[in-house]
Symmetry: C2
Subunit: 220 residues, 2 copies
Amino acid sequence: MKLSLLLFDGFTALDAIGGYEVLSRIPGLSFEIAAKERGLVATDTRAFGITAVRAFAEVETTDVLYVPGGPGVEIAKSDQALCTCIRRLHASSKWTLGVCNGVGLLAAAGVLEGKTVTTNWDYREVLAEQGIHVVPERYARDGKIVTSAGVSASIDAALSLAGLIAGEDVAKLIQLGIEYYPRPPFGGTSADDAPLAAREVVRKVTRASVAALGTTRPAF
Amino acid sequence: MKLSLLLFDGFTALDAIGGYEVLSRIPGLSFEIAAKERGLVATDTRAFGITAVRAFAEVETTDVLYVPGGPGVEIAKSDQALCTCIRRLHASSKWTLGVCNGVGLLAAAGVLEGKTVTTNWDYREVLAEQGIHVVPERYARDGKIVTSAGVSASIDAALSLAGLIAGEDVAKLIQLGIEYYPRPPFGGTSADDAPLAAREVVRKVTRASVAALGTTRPAF
């Protein structure tokens, strides 16, 4: 079984690495990172890059298609090479995982018609306006499509998917291996419970991150 | 304020990226990755590498020193360049963060004498045998040293550290930004509550990962 993680300029590292750290531990699963071209793909902060070992054109099929999000989604959703690759690989994938606003890339690729998904708390309206049914859950499954709320929710969604792929016993071993018994130091149960003013600050930071992408040179 | 994340061959990606995704969002903080030499550093699975933009020798001082763990620690703890760099940067850091068995690297660098730390559930005895006081917590603080349990605990530890650096309000905004309101799909409250047989399986997988490091060629 093979998992292909698709990267694009300005992805959010934890969107990708949260699920990678879970799913790459499934026994017998091989893991590859693909991008438009082989080589380094810069994260949203421009502080580092991650190596893609395959170009999209080199990935003929995959069993698990994994699409993360990040500020780069705003540009990536108009990238025909990426959207075509998602559509093509999704056509025969056993599972497709979309994380955070990376679910918007699944939408841009045209694979979400009639589907129920989740996404990050600040992106629900964007998808709903496209006629996609959005539920405010940490992760959601509709057929072979698994979707995740924002960034860190990639871990929960991937553990859920690991359970579907390899069974609950294996998923629990992976949970133990990454010691995922979270204890957020300042509590909090949901983004929806955060004060409106806090949500407005984070929205502004997100917009600034999107704007900064085009002007910040990668540090490597 | 500057944070320097030190990487070494065979680090575990989420040990590094969990804390990075939190701490790099502190307003005004600059983030850099350093390694023995500039360039790509391979993760434990060999599936990808991350770019170090600085060599250890190029980092004169730092405010926040961040040392992740991984199967590579077994070899890295004998690496004099790494241990000397940790000792040197820790001497004037404002904060030092050790994650998972990366806390063993802090010990190898000689900066844990008389300190109380946590580490991953499977590494506590190793540190205790060295006379270090180990507590079975998700994260722990002793003066300027913050330590974390395994892999995913880097997120909780980093949020706690973000609160110390920038205050609880900022840390809560970061928590909202990465939507860290975890909901592990199969429950579980602590590694110590996992069945003994499960812990034995994970121990075997860990030993196999350490052994595989020397024989698996990076995919990039």
